[in-house]
């Protein structure tokens, strides 16, 4: 049986857009920058509600990040938003120097992340953004598992004093958390408890993991499921506990294998609690055009791939290689 029931389908980017409007009402210092993709990233909602606090910079992402830094210096709370690749790869040095090194409270909010953006193809599939943002000192990096969590994350971001990167997705996705479940940056959600293996995921992959857990449970495998919504600073305690109690880890993300959530988890394990780990991620390749589901299958990040990875890691755990048990 599915441990979580799908309630409806709504996009994380919509949660972002709606939360921005709420913040706009609560705080007159909230400002938003648009890069000619306003309707797509749902900052159109804020633009309509607060036209004088919305700044169009045109298709100019480097300028967007610099302008956001300037607005922060002037005491504003800037949200800069465009597609994942153009929010991170394109203006990387502007983010590094003017925002991260300068420790300015700019909130970079990217939509259309991951391979699931589909038909636009590799140029638009941001699969490196977690790695790029996570490597920057001072940067908080997080990605919600559904619409409600997206909303909560954006609201909670108001209290962060450091730079922030949030990762949203285009597609309508399964909503399975509730509006009132707690959210705190850096504190992972253990969604399902289990003792044989732990799957740690972020973003829309969390739902894929819940689907995989149903299959694995039928095979008698007890799976712990963790939603690691904050990739940096990562919840070391929860990872260590899972490693100690289950002895096998699978990570799942719609991102490159190198440098993403899986790498972040491995960095923790190898230092604190060496444990066999399998990665479900795009394996060092660019994507291509196709439907989201087709791509998840071809590039090995759907529920079937997660199930296989669990079987592999359990084999390794049994054979005791790299395992403390």
């Amino acid at each position: 049986m599915l441990k979580f029931q799908p309630k409806e389908h709504k996009a994380t980017r919509l949660g972002f857009g709606e939360a921005l409007v709420e913040l706009g009402h609560e705080n007159p210092n909230v400002v938003v920058l648009g890069g000619d993709v306003t309707g797509s990233v749902r900052t159109d909602l804020f633009m309509k509600a607060f036209p004088n606090r919305f700044f169009s910079v045109g298709i100019a992402e480097q300028d967007m990040m610099g302008t956001a830094a300037g607005l922060a210096i002037a005491g504003k709370i800037p949200f800069a938003s465009t597609y994942g690749e153009f929010a991170t790869g394109r203006p990387f040095d502007q983010i590094r120097q003017s925002i991260a090194y300068s420790e300015l409270p700019v909130k970079i909010c990217a939509s259309h992340c991951g391979i699931t953006v589909g038909q636009d193809g590799a140029t638009h599939q941001s699969l490196e953004d977690i790695a790029l943002m996570r490597v920057l000192p001072h940067m908080t990096v997080a990605s919600p598992c559904d619409y409600h969590q997206a909303k909560k994350m954006v609201k909670a971001s108001m209290h962060l004093k450091n730079p922030l990167y949030l990762r949203f997705f285009r597609d309508n996705s399964t909503v399975f958390t509730s509006p009132d479940s707690p959210f705190q940056f850096g504190k992972a959600d253990t969604l399902i408890d289990g003792s044989d293996v732990t799957i740690i995921a972020c973003g829309l992959q969390v739902w894929e993991v819940i689907l995989a857990e149903e299959i694995l449970a039928k095979d008698g495998i007890s799976v712990r499921v963790i939603n690691m919504h904050t990739i940096k600073p990562i919840d070391v305690e929860t990872i260590n506990k899972a490693a100690e109690e289950t002895g096998a880890i699978v990570t799942a993300e719609d991102h490159q294998k190198h440098g993403g959530l899986g790498s972040a988890v491995a960095e923790v394990l190898v230092q604190h609690c060496p444990t066999p780990q399998e990665f479900v991620a795009v394996n060092d390749t660019f994507g291509e055009s196709g439907l989201g589901e087709e791509l998840m299958k071809k590039y090995g990040i759907n529920k079937d791939a997660i199930v296989k990875a669990v079987h592999r890691v359990i084999e390794r755990k049994k054979s005791n290689r790299f395992s403390r048990r």
Binding site: G34, D36, V37, T38, G39, S40, S56, V57, G58, I59, A60, Q62, D63, E85, F86, R90, G118, Q119, D120, G121, A122, T123, H124, F286, E288, S289, G290, L291, E294, L295, K298
Partner: protein, 297 residues
């Protein structure tokens, strides 16, 4: 191949527009507005202006063409297929998994098709590449021309103006940039999203020769290109005024058609407005077969 005259080019443009509509009806995803608006530019380039050999796409005497605004690729793919770079029936595979017609173009040695030199899709990178290519050719004393196609919204990107400065500084006069001045981008009119005017003066200030023309008039466009080729000493830019969605009444000059495909109903209506040509479509839909049968009776 013999160089086509204006009437024939018009017919090719018409066919490219039909191709674009059909490709998008099949893919159910992709950009309508820019590709339809620039069909006259692409037919002129690929069937009159460019010195190319589709059987030998890497021929070193070729004119180089770069599509900086990668989202225009449906019309580019149609022109490449019609010119013989790859089979016409491959146009059915736009944006499909395991295909070569990527949603934004890729070169043939990665995922893409012959005739594509470099990936594009992230805006604003193509002019730099074209400048580099022009500099390289000049170093080898080659006579090849380099053409690059830019969207007007795309000119918002700072890298465009860095490249414009580089080209002006190095006086690369084997380079012709074409700006598709349709005054539309995603969020609205270019004048509302990010004003570009005075655009001609901007390019002039960066030490370019600037020419203007009607990009939906093939005679005007071709004679402007000829004029540009004769100008020496500076890089050349043609600001080609076009209508987004040109040829389809309900899309024409409407920025809302920037990035969406026609649904079945809209596609049928669009095809009804663009008569079939002697070149024939790359696919006949089931409903067309029925209509054709009725008209034969």
């Amino acid at each position: 191949m013999k160089i086509l005259d204006t009437n024939e080019l018009k017919e090719i443009s018409q066919q490219l527009r039909r191709d674009v509509i059909k490709m998008l009806m099949i893919s159910k995803s992709g950009h309508s507005g820019g590709p339809l608006g620039s069909a006259d530019i692409f037919s002129s380039l690929y069937f009159h202006i460019l010195n190319i050999d589709p059987k030998n796409p890497k021929w070193d005497g070729r004119d180089y063409f770069f599509l900086s605004a990668g989202h225009y690729c449906p019309v580019w793919y149609a022109a490449l297929a019609r010119r013989g770079y790859f089979p016409l029936n491959e146009l059915t595979t736009l944006r499909k998994i395991n295909g070569r017609l990527q949603g934004h173009p890729a070169p043939v040695h990665t995922h893409g098709v012959p005739g594509v030199e470099v990936a594009s899709g992230a805006l604003g990178q193509g002019l730099s590449i074209a400048v580099g290519c022009s500099l390289g050719l000049r170093l080898d004393n080659k006579a090849n021309h380099v053409y690059v196609f830019l969207g007007d919204g795309e000119l918002n990107e700072g890298q465009i103006w860095e490249a414009a400065m580089t080209a002006g500084h190095h006086k690369v006069d084997n380079l012709i940039a074409i700006v598709d001045r349709n005054d539309c981008q995603i969020d609205g009119r270019t004048s509302n999203v990010m004003g570009l005017e005075p655009l001609v003066d901007k390019w002039k200030a960066f030490n370019w020769h600037v020419l203007e023309c009607n990009g939906n008039n093939i005679d005007d466009f071709i004679s402007t290109i000829k004029q540009a080729k004769d100008l020496k000493g500076k890089p050349k830019v043609i600001v080609a005024r076009t209508f987004m969605g040109n040829g389809v009444s309900f899309m024409q000059d409407d920025y809302k058609w920037h990035g969406v495909p026609p649904n079945d109903e809209q596609g049928k209506q669009a095809l009804a407005e663009i008569p079939p040509t002697k070149y024939g479509d790359f696919i006949e839909f089931e409903w067309e077969k029925e209509i054709n049968l009725v008209s034969v009776k």
